[in-house]
Amino acid sequence: MVFGIVLAGGKGSRMGNTDMPKQFMKLGSKPILMHTVEKFFVNPRIEKIIVPTHKSWVEHAKNLVEKNFGKTDRVVVIDGGESRNDTIMNAIAYIEENHGLDDDTIVVTHDSVRPFVTHRIIDENIDCARKYGACDTMVPAADTIVESIDGKVISSIPVRDHMYQGQTPQSFKAKRLKEIFESLTEDEKNILTDACKMYVLKGEHVHVLMGEVFNIKITYPFDMKVAQSLIGEEEK
């Protein structure tokens, strides 16, 4: 079985004055989160879409889902966790409890604020995770990546041809993902920025697949303006 996990656990807003998490902000006719969930909803290979959400916004998210999809058991809103990986683990716990977890259980994890993800990207994630166990979506780095450990001077400039920018989805065989997470020390957990890093830390392969430059993450007000202009919406 394949599950979509649309990560909507963020509470903080980098969107300026608003207190509303960015995934609930409206883009075109509906909240960003709903655009993203719909991409998974119309993919028939996805059995169920789990939307882990910050506790304070769970009821709001449930209302949005019901308004958008009517009564459906294909989309379920659950409590998110403290960190991104805790949130993913909450979703996996939900799957285990309600559907069971076996070697063929695939999770396609995706940022709720990336509504421009395409059908092809989701399909390739499913295929890749099934074949390789873990995969990450990325695009070649357009800018030169510069490392500065102290923030004052450059410590290294990696070869740009070897650099990619990570996007989502990131997809995994759920059972192995859970095993790896449970094997991590607290120190290791503290340095994680995403789920793929767990595999890298443990020396396991994560397969790479190409995303799209336009599969942007809407984080800052600037991104919102870009997203609005992409869909031809007048800035309000």
Binding site: L27, G28, S29, H35, E38, K39, F41, V42, N43, P44, P115, F116, T118, H119, R120, M210, E212, F214, L230, I231, G232
Partner: protein, 341 residues
């Protein structure tokens, strides 16, 4: 949901744009599976249309020949996974006399409206025709083109008098080949005479009674009815040669598109009492009949497979250019796009 639409913004320049799709609009959601490039797409792509036409119609997603897979159907008409052919003609009214493809109020996908080069496409159930199981998907991708010939045949059946012993088809390209094939299967007793300009292309018409180079037609060749599948600069000579060779009261089906006005020998049209009628695009009934013909004549599908030329997998916008570049160098056959974008 936000959909990625790959539009021609100016000749040879394709860019992605994004459009909202309403899942509650009562439309079936489809993923393009294979698409086929049509001459009309090439005319836009190469900038061969008038500046006025380009200005009026671009930006626009090209391609109106496609086979797609149902991924979500809130109407309950289709099963998820069904392969269907989308009908690019979209009527906005019904008329008991005038066919939907001739209604001036109908619109056409990839002519003023976005065609099928999109991440996903949507259509109302009446604009979709389900394909039989085990269909050859490369052939299915150009079902729209086949349906145009089916439409021409149906019009012929209504308009032409009943003496149909000898049919002449001008044009040794894709439309000529498909139209001739349909005649071969639907009217097996009829003798087919093909008039073209390229020997190699004419050699594909092995089922015809005879093929002629237009400059070397023997004395005494005559036909009861004719089909013009030439278009462009060749329309004038094709139509007038047909007028010379056709028997009195014959009908002439005009199927080729020309950017320019065409001089026609109307004196002989009058003297012979000929009927010239246009035939363009197709509607739902033609698509349905096309699919029925696929089921009834498996060998028709095998013959249509001879038209499949390059099959180009498209994962990037440069791949789309590559498909169009390959297609422009092809004098016969269809370029199929394997949609993986």
């Amino acid at each position: 949901m936000i959909n990625a639409v790959y539009q021609l913004v100016s000749p040879r320049m394709i860019d992605v744009t994004y459009k909202e799709v309403d899942l509650t609009a009562g439309e079936v959601v489809l993923r393009p599976y294979k698409l086929s490039i049509c001459k009309a797409d090439q005319r836009y792509y190469q900038g061969m249309r008038s500046q006025a036409a380009l200005k009026a119609k671009l930006p626009m997603a090209l391609v109106h020949e496609c086979v797609a897979q149902v991924i979500y159907d809130p109407t309950g008409t289709f099963n998820v996974g069904d392969f269907v052919v989308p009908i690019p003609t979209v009527p906005t009214e019904t008329d008991e006399i005038i066919a939907e493809n001739y209604l001036r109020s109908s619109y056409f996908r990839s002519s003023g409206n976005d065609g099928f080069l999109q991440d996903i496409i949507t259509a109302t159930p009446d604009r979709l025709v389900k394909l039989p199981d085990n269909m050859n998907m490369n052939v299915a991708s150009f079902s729209e083109l086949v349906s145009v010939s089916v439409h021409a045949m149906r019009r012929f059946d209504k308009i032409a008098h009943s003496r149909r012993n000898k049919i002449g088809i001008w044009g040794d390209g894709n439309v000529g080949y498909i139209t001739a094939l349909l005649f071969h299967y639907l009217y097996p007793e009829t003798e087919l005479y093909i008039f073209g300009t390229v020997e190699e292309k004419l050699s594909y018409f092995s089922f015809a009674k005879a093929t002629y180079h237009v400059d070397h037609v023997p004395e005494g060749v005559a036909i009861d009815h004719g089909f013009e599948c030439v278009g462009g600069a060749g329309s004038r000579s094709a139509i007038n040669q047909m007028i010379d060779l056709i028997n009195p009261e014959g009908t002439m089906s005009l199927m080729g598109v020309s950017e320019n006005f065409v001089d026609i020998n109307t004196r002989m049209v009058l003297e012979k009492g000929l009927r010239l009628y246009g035939s363009s695009r197709s509607g739902r009934e033609d698509f349905e009949q096309t699919v029925e013909l696929y089921k009834k004549f498996p060998r028709l599908v095998s013959r249509l497979d001879n038209l499949v030329g390059d099959v180009v997998q498209v994962k990037t916008i440069p791949d789309i250019h590559s498909a169009f570049d390959k297609d422009i160098h092809r004098s016969f056959g269809k370029t199929v796009i394997d949609w993986a974008k």
